[in-house]
Symmetry: C2
Subunit: 314 residues, 2 copies
């Protein structure tokens, strides 16, 4: 099923305890697009860069099945760039610099050939831009998934809520869920956030996995306990890309299938953190992905399940 994604395309400059990078391909959209491309092609991209953006990176996206007709290249302007430095244990990061550049007044123009989009992934961007994309599509997509972050909760809460009301699946982390709802309990937070509109809510908990909520149901996807995380940048976007890619490919938006999509997204994210930036997402084989998903299934498998029962007191 046709998939449209929007999100930032950026230069990232990263520093982790394991090394530093020069300007490398970053931003939400490349992670989302590359992750989704393992499930569905083409991935139609609406985004903006400056004319300083390397042709090689555009070719790289194209080679992975990302259609870049919707990628605006603004002459005489500079691409969005972000540089950050991670703490020793990678649990926190400090933003060294953010240059919005072309992102400051991004007008998401949707190519005619993208308009029949059935699956829409709104990567993290201002909620106004995210909403404009929904409004510009001819028909409402079958499924809209939205990612966002605390920045918009702090600076544009009402705009954010208006956009959240229009989507089917909201994807945020635990601290953002607590901030958005004012509730500490994630179960209460989920109820309060789904009352804003989304029928499904994914709460990402990093190394602690992810929760998928729908009505009164909840699914707990573990994270793979990893020996080494090399660079966490883009893990959340990769998760989202894997998630919507799986759904677009299977075209089944039941709670049961969303669970599988969450596992698939988690598996893709577990690859992402193994190398800098998008590097690990460039050459995955279907066998590798399948093996990783099997690890996730093994992690929580208790056999025989019928044997999990209370043992009567003797």
């Amino acid at each position: 099923m046709s998939l449209l994604i929007i999100g930032s395309v950026a230069f990232d400059i990263l520093e982790t305890p394991f090394g530093k990078t020069d300007k490398i391909l970053g931003g939400a959209a490349p992670f989302i697009g590359l992750a989704a491309s393992y499930s569905v092609k083409p991935v139609n991209l609406v985004a903006v860069v400056g004319d300083d953006f390397p042709q090689a990176d555009i070719l790289l996206l194209q080679e992975h099945g990302v259609d870049t007709e919707g990628l605006q290249i603004r002459a005489g302007e500079k691409s969005f760039s972000w540089s950050g430095k991670y703490s020793q244990d990678l649990s926190t990061r400090e933003t060294i610099a953010t240059e919005l550049n072309v992102l400051a007044d991004f007008d998401p123009v949707i190519p005619h050939s993208y308009l029949d989009c059935k699956y829409l992934m709104l990567g993290n961007l201002s909620p106004q831009v995210q909403r404009l994309v929904i409004q510009r599509l001819v028909n409402r997509p079958k499924l809209i998934v939205m990612d966002t972050m605390n920045f918009w909760m702090d600076s544009a809460l009402e705009e954010l809520k208006t956009t959240i009301e229009m989507v089917d699946v909201l994807c945020i982390n635990d601290e953002e869920a607590r901030q958005l709802s004012g509730e500490h309990s994630l179960v209460k937070a989920a109820k309060s956030i789904m009352a804003l509109g989304p029928k499904f809510l994914i709460i990402k908990k990093g190394e602690h996995g992810a929760l998928l909520f729908h009505k009164h149901k909840v699914f707990y996807a573990p994270a793979l306990p990893l020996e080494e995380v090399f660079d966490p940048t883009g893990a959340g976007d990769t998760f989202a890309g894997g998630f919507i890619g799986y759904l677009a490919a299977t075209d089944d938006n039941s709670f049961e299938n969303m669970k599988r999509a969450v596992i698939h997204g988690s598996a893709m994210a577990s690859f992402c953190v193994e190398k800098f930036g998008t590097e690990r997402l460039l050459h995955l084989s279907p066998e590798e992905i399948e093996a990783r998903e099997a690890q996730f299934a093994d992690l929580v498998r208790v056999l025989p399940e019928t044997a999990i029962a209370n043992v009567p007191a003797v």
Copy 2:
């Protein structure tokens, strides 16, 4: 199979956002004993209290199948007591007062009838006292499970390591695992800690569940996302009691059965936090426990599992 438990027996005075208690039954051993009693009886207890300890609490333990022949009642002395106050979101707690009293020089005398113990649960106490219990048993138990806490890592690290070397299963939380190993990655921490002696390691992560490690294998038990936690006191001890109780009842210490024991322990702990102190552990029915375990199984179940596979690119 015969089960021996040791641990503190205390007066707790608790304050949570939901209320305050007077002196109520607390300490590691009552939580462990009550939780285990749903799987195996009797639960043989070695512990110490002063003569201020209410006869009613001793009767309550006995009624639940806890044998108190090994509970020393020291005349003219006062029981161990602890008072603490939890933060608004229950994620942290402040110790208001700790009075060691009889615990300061506890000598764990083991009644003759307890000596054939096959399963031994060393609840949190000084590592010297924990070790004495192992040394005083005629035969080495079939399985020794040990709980401890950061306090002993700060104050008696070498003693602690000597005791850890002698046990089969160590049960600690994530921060303690990081402190004990000096590793941030829990996978690396687990390797390093198992190298000290224990063949199995359980890392408890509170609201994020628990990890069971054995050789190169890992099992992830989720925690039940709860709408309301009323009082977290004793949850870890209840987990440990449920865990060893399940193993003592089934007498199967394979990795597969330990997974079931972890789920059972998690289910028992999820009851514990619903009321103050041990209250919720007093009148559980087998049906309630079974239903709760089924919730844990549902939480991670993806059906059909064979459908979790990478979707080939189209």
